[in-house]
Subunit: 209 residues, 4 copies
DNA sequence: TATGAATGAGGTTTCATTCAT
DNA sequence: TATGAATGAAACCTCATTCAT
């Protein structure tokens, strides 16, 4: 009379539970944003009671911040700025890589941008974390752009990096809204080209002056 | 709660109340997004009881949709695509005008983008309304771009329009995150130039082939 | 055709609801103290849903403070310090009256003393209100004692008033713990006598010195 | 959470943990009462996980009872009724000693009185324990008072003891509310004197009759 | 001699909404 | 043209407690 293995999963497997919670929270938060992510919904999706979520995370803010943190880790493994290519190919390559990264893990960006846009009285830890992550991407872009040539002023480098990031954000949104009608890879290529041309034009203008 | 002694301009009060509610809702929704906007908070901010909000608007969805609708009206008065300029100045002019429009009424864009990013099970009317408004802007851009020259394919026109819009969205976000460190006018000029150059390059390539 | 007054009690009868809530809250709070009074229990006892309690009171703190406030009103109608008796009977009379007042409405005192004893990080409004009420009783006692004779120093007046109040509090507690084995009226008489004798002794000592 | 590297004094650690828990629980319970004392708060204050508290104590009731029990022990070492003094000094001496005891360990009294005042459906063990401790003090007082003279009836002895205790409780509360404005030692002296005078008056009245 | 992890019940409060007036 | 009052559902979070290790 071998009854089915009832699996009283009561043994301590905290790491797995934490992961399950984060998975559920990531999925929901990426779709509905901060306020739209309810602990109850996360609980329902991951199967653990709400009170168990509070064993692993101090509060909702802590949970969403952990979601951003982990998503950023995943994102980093996808979006690797190349270090050894020659200068003139750099921006194009970054553009293409970024297109792929955006396509591969849109959850991170969607949630991050939602957080970035919100202006609530007390800034959630999650937003701060995303902004900080974004700042790192910005600095990496500055470094890449600086390598294009010594003729660019720091202001120009910063402007180009801002424009590079803005294009990426905007194209992501275009894809979100437009769906399949938007060819993200082509658009990122276009963006990379535009950036490169703009940089060259700036360099030329600088030298002329 | 109503502290003024009942004035008797019965006729106009309805419209005024509606306006007060919309003002409050706009402010809150632009800061906190759809879920973050509670009827209670709107009521507290505009001074009218929650039940009065339901007299003016069917439900929360209807209220937020009205917010988008009215904001779009305001936006249109600020962002006027020029119809009669000669082709080569067109994009730059649009770019500069758009920069000003973005700076003037960020609430509309912030709320709209938040709505656009969210993916909730039943799409709010407000989101549909914003997407539709955006589509109109997209079409206006296409028309402008088409006027640059007959050599551009429809695919290219569409791509350029998408890129134009994406740049605007991205630069708006950059401004939201970066605050005073971001010079929106300069960046929109850069964006306009990049668009124009890209369009010219496309035309050249088309003719060469 | 007068049909039976079906009383769809949905019409606005806020004052009655408020009273029902306060009645329930008073009963529970007097038995269990601040923390022991849950909104859920009040809701169950008064029949209104918990959310309705929040229509009438801002939060739990506000509710308990209102309980104290109303109870104090009731208490005042029971405990009236006599204003026109001659000096030498005054304390005894007050003592007897206080005994009756304590016996008549123990809820106010029990809750008040519980609040007074607690030392929570943020002092509840209810505690502040009770302490303030108590201060008024203290001042009334001071006035009464001052009338006993001009020979008492202010320090002595204050000390006697403190002792008078302390005796009342202590006897109330004795009654709470001892129940029927404690004859409150006799003890308050004893307390009044002791106070009076002490006052006389003080006066005598003052004059001797 | 446990940051010290596991020391191996296995033997003594049990008792030490118990003490740490009791210390934390005493502090919290003396400030917030029974319901206000949560296992989580005790755990946070003493640094041991909640489950460890349940290893040392059966449940919350057991914990608070242990707090009262230990506090009473400490109290007894402070408040020693003199056994060998002559009758007429006795009450005064007790009064002064009690003032000091009250000043030295207010936590015990505060918690005890809070427990005594509460009226919850199932009486906590801690309340029963405090009431029983109090009964012992009551009996000691009776013995002391009885020694004042054989002329006092048992009713009078009981009444005087009740009044003695009530005064102590009331003065403690006065101190709790009034803080530094209350001179406890002077008031306890006054109380002792009043008791002594009252006793003498009773004896005189008895003999007169 | 502990403790990490879990859990159901219940805590306070806010939610969107309705309805009688 | 409003609004005072009510309401069930759900929000976030804490509760006392258990149990396998």
């Amino acid at each position: 009379m071998p009854d089915q293995p009832k699996r009283r999963q009561r043994r301590a497997d905290g790491e797995l539970s934490r992961t399950r919670i984060l998975d559920a929270a990531t999925e929901i938060a990426a779709e509905r944003g901060y306020e739209g992510t309810s602990i109850g919904a996360v609980s329902a999706k991951c199967g653990l009671p709400a009170s168990s979520i509070y064993w692993h995370f101090k509060d909702k803010d802590d949970l969403i911040a952990a979601v951003i943190e982990r998503s950023f880790g995943n994102w980093l493994t996808v979006w690797q700025l190349p270090d050894d290519v020659i200068a003139r190919d750099r921006l194009m390559e970054v553009a293409t890589g970024t297109a792929k990264a955006v396509l591969d893990s849109p959850d991170f960006l969607r949630l991050g941008l939602m957080l970035a846009l919100e202006r609530r009285p007390v800034e959630p830890k999650a937003r701060a974390m995303f902004v900080q992550v974004r700042q790192r991407a910005f600095e990496a872009l500055q470094t890449s752009i600086r390598d294009l040539g010594p003729a660019l002023t720091e202001d120009q480098v910063s402007q180009l990096a801002t424009y590079a990031l803005a294009g990426a954000d905007g194209l992501f949104i275009a894809k979100e809204i437009g769906g399949d009608t938007v060819d993200l890879v082509a658009l990122f290529a276009l963006h990379g080209q535009a950036l490169y041309d703009t940089a060259l034009r700036m360099i030329a203008e600088n030298e002329q002056r």
